[in-house]
């Protein structure tokens, strides 16, 4: 059978599935909704391109390559301090953690928002708790994490409480997700504290031997990620969280400063100016790149740094574009959906008794 030979690229172009025809994809309600949310959530101007004083040229290659061409938007004058300045200042303010005790203790307050369903009602719950982590300086000291202190799970707003009441004040509710059915329910009300044993301070990695420069620290953390995750590329969010942990750890000042440099080297990090943390303490805020959360939608992580001590007062996540589940319970762009607030840190010689706690003492 004779076949007329035809340009295969033309044949391929003609074979494009109808579902991928841009004309069919234009003008959906979601298109407009997303646009308004993206613009309205961005209360702050983006940071104009600037030279990253801390980084070798290679690290900003991707940005620099683009910067060399024509850009659509002319850079505006910065309204906020340069993000590198904020982080350099914070690193410079860090002090050595003082004379050593038996345990390094950090106390934090955690809050997270969850879209849930009970019966035919949907609403948002907030899970709140405090944690105390005390890590022994020596292998023989009993390191532990206490979670569930002053813990409560409650409807987020008055409207959420009304929805919960309308559902018959159930003791638990089903977690919602944007990616199919999420297994598991969350119980409302209070819960007792729990104690979990942990490795000692240098049990996971040699704190004293940690790199004291940003490149070395980034390499070290990347290797640790590969050990933990097996493979794959380390995400910025993971790096930033580990860096933040180090800043509140009793490691050398230089390592903590390097951790701030790792954060500054994250693509898309920018300054937000002065913001208050969940306890109302003011600090310099920086924003990290957005990420997608299965339960909530597109969220932006923000760090609020105490200009006095250089310590991160809080890390919080702000909703940028609510996902379907979040939108169905009334969560909107700009809502703070998660936070971890630093209550205190330092050396201590004893671990306090936790009455009623579950787990080993």
């Amino acid at each position: 059978m004779a076949r007329a030979k035809r340009d295969v690229m033309k044949a391929l172009a003609d074979a494009r599935p109808e579902a991928l025809d841009p004309e069919r994809l234009a003008g959906s309600p979601r298109q407009q909704r997303d646009l308004e949310q993206i613009i309205s959530a961005a209360i702050t101007p983006a940071r104009p391109r600037s030279v990253r004083r801390w980084l070798p040229v290679g690290a900003v290659g991707a940005v620099a390559a683009v910067a060399a061409g024509i850009v659509l938007f002319a850079p505006t004058q910065p309204s906020f301090p340069d993000v590198n300045r904020v982080l350099v200042d914070a690193a410079n303010k860090l002090v050595e953690p003082g004379p050593e005790g038996t345990y390094w203790e950090t106390k934090t307050r955690h809050s997270s928002t969850w879209p849930v369903a009970a019966g035919d009602r949907r609403f948002a719950l907030v899970i709140e708790e405090e944690r105390e982590v005390s890590l022994g300086r020596k292998p023989e000291s009993k390191s532990r994490a206490v979670s569930g202190l002053n813990a409560v799970t409650r409807p987020r707003t008055l409207a959420d409480e009304q929805a919960w009441r309308a559902a018959g004040t159930p003791a638990s509710a089903q977690l919602l997700s944007d990616v199919g059915v999420r297994e598991g329910a969350v119980a409302l009300g209070q819960r007792p504290p729990a104690i979990k044993p942990l490795p000692w301070l240098s049990g996971r990695e040699d704190h004293a031997g940690l790199p004291k420069d940003a490149d070395g620290l980034r390499r070290h953390l990347t290797e640790r990620y590969r050990e933990e995750a097996g493979a794959g590329t380390v995400s910025d969010a993971w790096l930033v969280d580990r860096a933040r942990e180090l800043i509140t750890s009793p490691v050398a000042k230089e390592t903590r400063a390097a951790a701030y440099e790792v954060i500054a080297g994250t693509a898309g990090v920018r300054s937000l100016g002065e913001r208050a943390d969940p306890l109302g303490r003011k600090g310099n805020a920086i924003a990290l790149p957005t990420r997608r959360d299965d339960a909530l939608g597109l969220v932006e992580q923000q760090l609020i740094i105490d200009p006095g001590t250089g310590l991160p007062l809080a890390s919080q996540e702000v909703l940028v574009v609510p996902g379907a589940s979040a939108a169905s319970v009334g969560l909107a762009a700009g809502d703070i959906v998660r936070s971890e607030t630093l209550l205190g840190l330092g050396w201590t010689d004893q671990q306090r008794d936790i009455p009623g706690a579950i787990g080993p003492r």
Partner: protein, 168 residues
Amino acid sequence: MAEADQFRELYNACYPRVLAYASGHVGRQLGEDVVSETFAVAWRRRHEIPVPPLPWLLGVARNLLRTSRRTEIRQYELAAATARHEQFGEDTGGIVTERAAVLAALRTLPESEQELLTLVAWHGLTPKEAAKVLGCSTATFAVRLHRARRRLEKAVADTQDAAVGGRS
């Protein structure tokens, strides 16, 4: 609000094409999430967006798809399988039309080659623009496109022969 207006213009002009690209990988539903994330990144980095913006936007979307593939493997694979089903149909046995033959042939190529070919044939990018999306040089892209194209030609011929043979 001049910046916001300018961004609206860019958004409305590019949205359908970025969505077509993302939907081609993971279907419409997850594709819309990826596009939303792409433009959130674009708004934040609006001072870096080059002219023309489309290859840059597709590059951002491509990175997000890759990240999503790494971190949410099951969800991604499910969405990708659904997208393939939507686009290619379930069964390609008894192929008669050229369109079906081309799609069936495309599916036999490695994903990287499918991407090269569809960036040009379905998403209307020039080789220079497509090279920017993939982060390679135009020359490298041209070589890879040439190779992929020849493999597609061969696969189309094989598919048609198989279909003809199968019917006789």
